[in-house]
Symmetry: C3
Subunit: 438 residues, 3 copies
Amino acid sequence: MEAQTMAVRIDANQIADRAYSLIVDLYPICRSITGEGVRETLRMLGKHIALEVHEVPTGTHVFDWVIPREWNIRDAYIKNSKGEKIVDFKNSNLHVVNYSAPLQAKLTLQELREHLFSDPTHPEWIPYRTSYYEETWGFCMAHRQLAELPEDEYEVFIDSSLTEGQLSYGEYFVPGELADEVLISCHICHPSLCNDNLSGIALATFLSKHLSQIPLRYSYRFLFVPGAIGPITWLAQNQGCAGRIKHGLVLANLGDPGTSTYKKSRRGDAMIDRAVQAVLKHAGSKYEILDFSPYGYDERQYCSPGFNLPVGLLTRTPHGRFPQYHTSADNLDLVQPPYLADSFAKLLGVIDILEHSRKYLNTNPHCEPFLGKRNLYRPMGGFQDVATQQLALLWVLNLSDGSHDLLDICERSGLPFTAIARAAEELAKTDLLVLKDS
Amino acid sequence: MEAQTMAVRIDANQIADRAYSLIVDLYPICRSITGEGVRETLRMLGKHIALEVHEVPTGTHVFDWVIPREWNIRDAYIKNSKGEKIVDFKNSNLHVVNYSAPLQAKLTLQELREHLFSDPTHPEWIPYRTSYYEETWGFCMAHRQLAELPEDEYEVFIDSSLTEGQLSYGEYFVPGELADEVLISCHICHPSLCNDNLSGIALATFLSKHLSQIPLRYSYRFLFVPGAIGPITWLAQNQGCAGRIKHGLVLANLGDPGTSTYKKSRRGDAMIDRAVQAVLKHAGSKYEILDFSPYGYDERQYCSPGFNLPVGLLTRTPHGRFPQYHTSADNLDLVQPPYLADSFAKLLGVIDILEHSRKYLNTNPHCEPFLGKRNLYRPMGGFQDVATQQLALLWVLNLSDGSHDLLDICERSGLPFTAIARAAEELAKTDLLVLKDS
Amino acid sequence: MEAQTMAVRIDANQIADRAYSLIVDLYPICRSITGEGVRETLRMLGKHIALEVHEVPTGTHVFDWVIPREWNIRDAYIKNSKGEKIVDFKNSNLHVVNYSAPLQAKLTLQELREHLFSDPTHPEWIPYRTSYYEETWGFCMAHRQLAELPEDEYEVFIDSSLTEGQLSYGEYFVPGELADEVLISCHICHPSLCNDNLSGIALATFLSKHLSQIPLRYSYRFLFVPGAIGPITWLAQNQGCAGRIKHGLVLANLGDPGTSTYKKSRRGDAMIDRAVQAVLKHAGSKYEILDFSPYGYDERQYCSPGFNLPVGLLTRTPHGRFPQYHTSADNLDLVQPPYLADSFAKLLGVIDILEHSRKYLNTNPHCEPFLGKRNLYRPMGGFQDVATQQLALLWVLNLSDGSHDLLDICERSGLPFTAIARAAEELAKTDLLVLKDS
């Protein structure tokens, strides 16, 4: 039973501080689905983990899709007729519609307006916009500023390029005893937005680092991929071995103050679905469980009918439900270390279940064993709640008939998985319980 | 996808007006389980649809039952000693207990009273009573009148006959592509009562007429039968082909202001049960779902254990739950065209599902297809709600794996069947979706 | 249909009065898991039923356990230095920790205190304590008294013995038509405590007596056993025939004013689980259903994974939830005849279902039969509620298709089992219904 040890040994708050520092470092970079921003991001992650970076050429066919041209941007601004930069990419990379084509032009306010985007409901915030698959250009700005733009001749400059190049993504494989894999996937295509999804990137990085340092039963595959086109590319290039993925999570929005939310896999009752629910149920705070729907993050691809992988989505406030979503207010203030720590601890709890929910056999199945002579009723280290722990012993003995694993016992008993796993650990030290599966 | 077109093409309000006119015409006829009233009713329905009328002789054995003698009535009254008709069949055919034997007699009030029936809770209304299988006679009257009857010698006259004859019922078969049938059944044995069941008769008539004018996948069988003995007779004479009935509805009480109510078939989870629930759920008003019970209308016979047909009951206020039930107040005021129109639209919605809930195959099941290049995100004709329609596209693609039909997708997505069917229709025009079943 | 007759014939109040008298007689005896107190108890039960008493020698191995030494006690007290008995076993056998080793000693207050037990939350009550498997000694007393004990030299005397001997238990087998058995088990190891479990002992005694006097389909096995070691011993000695037990109940706490509570068997959906719920649902008062857990009474042993017998627990207020539990306040005032009568009537109801829930076949499954000609609509003796009884007829006919027994029909119809069973009884007198199973 490594998990308990693991959960005790690692300090989620310390990890959260490191994750927050990484978010601070990654925040300024202008990422997109391709380009130098992604590469720079992957390089920075590579300082923490031995990330493998893949480059897939423009024009490559990946299922129904084609890898697009690579987009890079150096500068962009709008100047008024006095030569004042009224909108400047250097102040916020959200100002430019992601994937905007290069441009140098002088435009009237009316001409310009068709390419300006704002969010009237939050007049101070810059919204985030993209146009990956339809060539165009545009600027995003605070609605308050847009509304007051005077008639003028504006100089518009976008120093970007759309060229034959590569789509870049990162992959990190942590081998375990089994060839069976757990997939952790996060999207890396958003520019200066913190919760969506620097929070996911940072926690995935430190989770993978942690797992690489401990013995594991499952192998773990971490994907740092641009949204949609990223998992589609990986799945196209790894179609044959996708079946090895036995459990999976997409990570996003893990640093805001909202309650933890889990969106179930398409299967709905996969072990990952049950494991996350077991963790959230006993975490001591409110949470929300959503049924699968084919709209959302990259679980859309993993859960497409041809793959139907058991991959769910772990978030705090779901996309679109926090007002700062896809605006400049999704910044370093929205994401805070305590929420990152809470999310990280829940991830560890889920992995604890995946790693340790084995089937055991009660070797003394006829009536209860005489526990007194085995000294099992003593308080166990770290567990104040002796009654819970003794009940857990009885549950593990009663249900270890070869058809229930520890997660089954956790669910039926209503006790936390940690108590059930600890009871199994204690019982396995005696003659009363043996591991059933190999 | 005919259904949408169908639903759009037909004006439920116009149908409801015609149905109401038919009800007005049928209202005065004194129907019973046999006799001229039934024949006259069937003749009038025959003006709208090519109804086949069956006549089954008195004494014919139908399962455990025997076709009774034919009842006809020409006149009936009670006169007081002054020769005044205080109760007159010509004023309301409810005045005579249905199937009353012929009689001419002079009686004291005391003798007469044993044959008088009233409803003290509604002292102005004439109740409706029958005695099909036990020979007797009787009169029904307003309780207010009955309570004030003076001591007198009364002349009682019933000019009826109980003779060897026929049981008459109507049948209308609308052929479709398949030999598989949808059964629509309504009872025609009630005299001047509107909701129960001229409403059902009229809507069945115009529904069958409508279906006869459009291409259909299923074949539809409409039965206009006297209650209980009618379906028993039909089932006895068609036992061998009852298995062709794949879905069915009994129609009754479809014109009152109450909420729509569906009583499930004995199976409980038949497609008809799911289809009606899907329609009522999205109809925008309250509704009620009742579990099957062996008490009620003719679903009792279709759902008897030897047949166990998937036949439910669609009503508005169920029998016995509206105060006018089986009284003279179930009249042309209780039933109103807007409620008939609402019921008719729901019937069309159910048939839409039965006809169009096919299984499709997503031909691009690995990851989502690139919808942008197929112009599928444009607003579709008639659908203002683009977000719903786009979500429907994703759901149809995600679940069209060969094991879900469109009703399954409707249920799991929580979207209206119309949106799901429209999405399938649009996708089937591209290379992305093909019909699975033949 | 004997059950109805049975339920009518027997007067639960009369039984409850006899049961209460038996409780009064048994109350003074100092029982434990072995010893003369158990034998004396079994002798007294033997005056009512032909109980077979088994004696199992100390040292016998029963699964993981060993039969302990036999404990007997004649006297015990604590005297102060004036020679006054301040605690006296003769006043209450709860004063001595059950299984206390023999002792004669003079102790200071401080030395004595380590062996004194009280309940501060109920300062007037003597708590009940045991130490079967760890040799020690102790006294229990009212907290009020304990708190005021002065410094003194105390004389402590326990005239007990722990010797090679026997474990005694009682068994009573009531044969029925079938070799299949219903197990009724109650624990007999508690000294002067009434609800836990003289109530269970007394009701089991009179239930077994009643069953021995009527024809039965099932065979019934009653066990009067010391807790835990008792059923373990029986199961060890009868392992081969435990499979004959098709239904079972552990009885405890059946005389207090609390609501009836049923704890389901480990299987959760066994017929006994469904039967008890059906009885409690229609009993007209509040009740509680608990899921199985491996903590509780002797269902722990019967439901151990190696046996997994369909044995639930019937109580009123569950153990630990009434304040008098395991104290001197669980006395002849807590238990009252009306609650014993109510519990007994529910037990009869459960047995009624087990005995009479057969599968029947509707011989006329195509459409409803013509009930009128069979005179089945007449009010039936003892049933005022004609509408319920007529509905029950229709339900029995509709569901007697060979795959539903009467309990299934009771559950689906929502009608009481008594109404369903009576309807089946009436129908079976006609040509319409025949027993399916042999």
